[in-house]
Amino acid sequence: MRVILVGFGVIGRGVISVIKKKREYLKKRYGMDVKIVAICDSSGAAIDENGLDLDLALEVKKRRGKISEYPGKGVTLEATEVIRSVDGDVLIEVTPTNIEDGEPARTYIIEGFKSGKHVITANKGPLALYFQELMSYAKRYNRIFRYEASVGGAMPIINLARETLAGNEIIEIKGILNGTTNYILTKMEREKLDFDTVLKEAQELGIAETNPYQDISGLDTAAKIVILANSIMNMNVTIKDVKIEGITRITPEALTMANKGGYTIKLVGEVKRNKLEVCPKLIPLDDPLNVKGSLNVAKLYTDLAKEVIVVGRGAGSIETSSAILSDLIHTYLQTSKG
């Protein structure tokens, strides 16, 4: 299976590390021989149709910061050009999320389908903004499109709802889908610290980003809610349809008040017919949604199985790459059948 990887940041490097680690396992278990035929970053690409040396690729990126400096195989081609011209089975798209216009990921994904590749992405931006369009391209070119890693990192939710819970109608999904805000609220509650202090500490620890706006404003959770609404509940919504309130006004006193009444405060995303909402909510202290630290959790209400709850790590390069790997294995198994 020939793979083109676009995006060689934290997640991209995680994907390469996981493929390296699991190479023998994939061969033995599935008969799957994964060759990374191209890796692209903002500097250009490294291309080898016989498969790149993954250790060398990681080393070049670490030492020089640019994959285009890969010895002998580095080029300064644009990613779009690489996707079009390199022969591959699957495009793994893991460029940084852009919630404003979904680019350049949207273009990469579309180019992937147009040039006959199956596409796996971890990117929320294009999915939250152009879900129907991307699905229509996948359908038109008869390609597989998988995006488990875009919601909840390693926590299985999209494929769980669509495959494991197949036959069930998903009536409602409610969950904590952003690890950074959950970490901040947990810390504020435990240590009675104010929001700004905990945010600063989370940034120093690398848990919160330098620009945490998308997390703390609820925008990141809203994007994930939209992906779940469209992909699991067959809705046709965009991020503009979500009512959003973030966590910046939460105080340690409010958390103490909530505790006195038997609750905690969590940033909860909720989707059901006629309701798309992200806002801080009172969650009973003994409720399964009361997960601590940077964990993610989702509760699915279904017609047959009733309530199904999943908890998992919502971030981290290896954790997120595990979801990408499962999509890659699924794609291989689907395509190797015929």
Binding site: R249, T251, E253, A254, M257, A258, K260, G261, Y263, L282
Partner: protein
């Protein structure tokens, strides 16, 4: 069988107050179950199991209980009334807390209020427990949204 869930004060005599009007109507009470796991503050939920009744008789029982100040939360698993909790963040007192409560009371009844003011110039927090008829819950939510915009208060809801 008819199931009635009542919210009673957890003190002596309260159960008798609820059972007396039912027995005076000559209705057979099959059992009385204390749902102690649902105890909150000083209130306890008691489930009363009655013989099958005509719709009108059931209505009369509920009316009689409510006349005595007893909260009937469920009839045959259909929620009639519920306690909802909210934590309100903002200048809760300075924006006329009395007006806020009066407006919420048009849709439900604020039965508990707890307030903390860390500093005169900082935002305060209040926790309210509101007893609301299920039919009026949407109206209560809309009123909270209105108050939230007018007074720049953040309502964090349990529902």
């Amino acid at each position: 069988m008819i199931l009635l869930d009542l919210e009673l004060k957890d003190s002596p005599g309260e159960l008798l107050k609820a059972l007396t009007p039912i027995s005076k109507m000559g209705i057979n009470i099959h059992s009385v179950i204390h749902l102690r796991e649902r105890k909150r503050d000083d209130k306890v939920v008691v489930r009363i199991v009655l013989e099958n009744l005509e719709e009108d008789t059931l209505k009369k029982i509920v009316e009689k209980l409510e006349d005595r100040g007893i909260v009937v939360t469920k009839v045959n698993n259909n929620i009639r009334k519920m306690d909802v909790d909210v934590v309100v963040i903002g200048h809760v007192v300075d924006t006329d807390i009395r007006d806020t409560i009066d407006r919420l009371n048009r849709y439900g009844l604020v039965v508990d209020l707890d307030l903390t003011m860390p500093h005169p110039y900082k935002e305060s927090s209040a926790r309210m427990r509101i007893l609301v008829d299920i039919k009026k819950l949407e109206g209560l939510c809309k009123e909270m949204e209105k108050i939230s915009k007018e007074k720049d208060l953040l309502f964090i809801k349990s529902f």
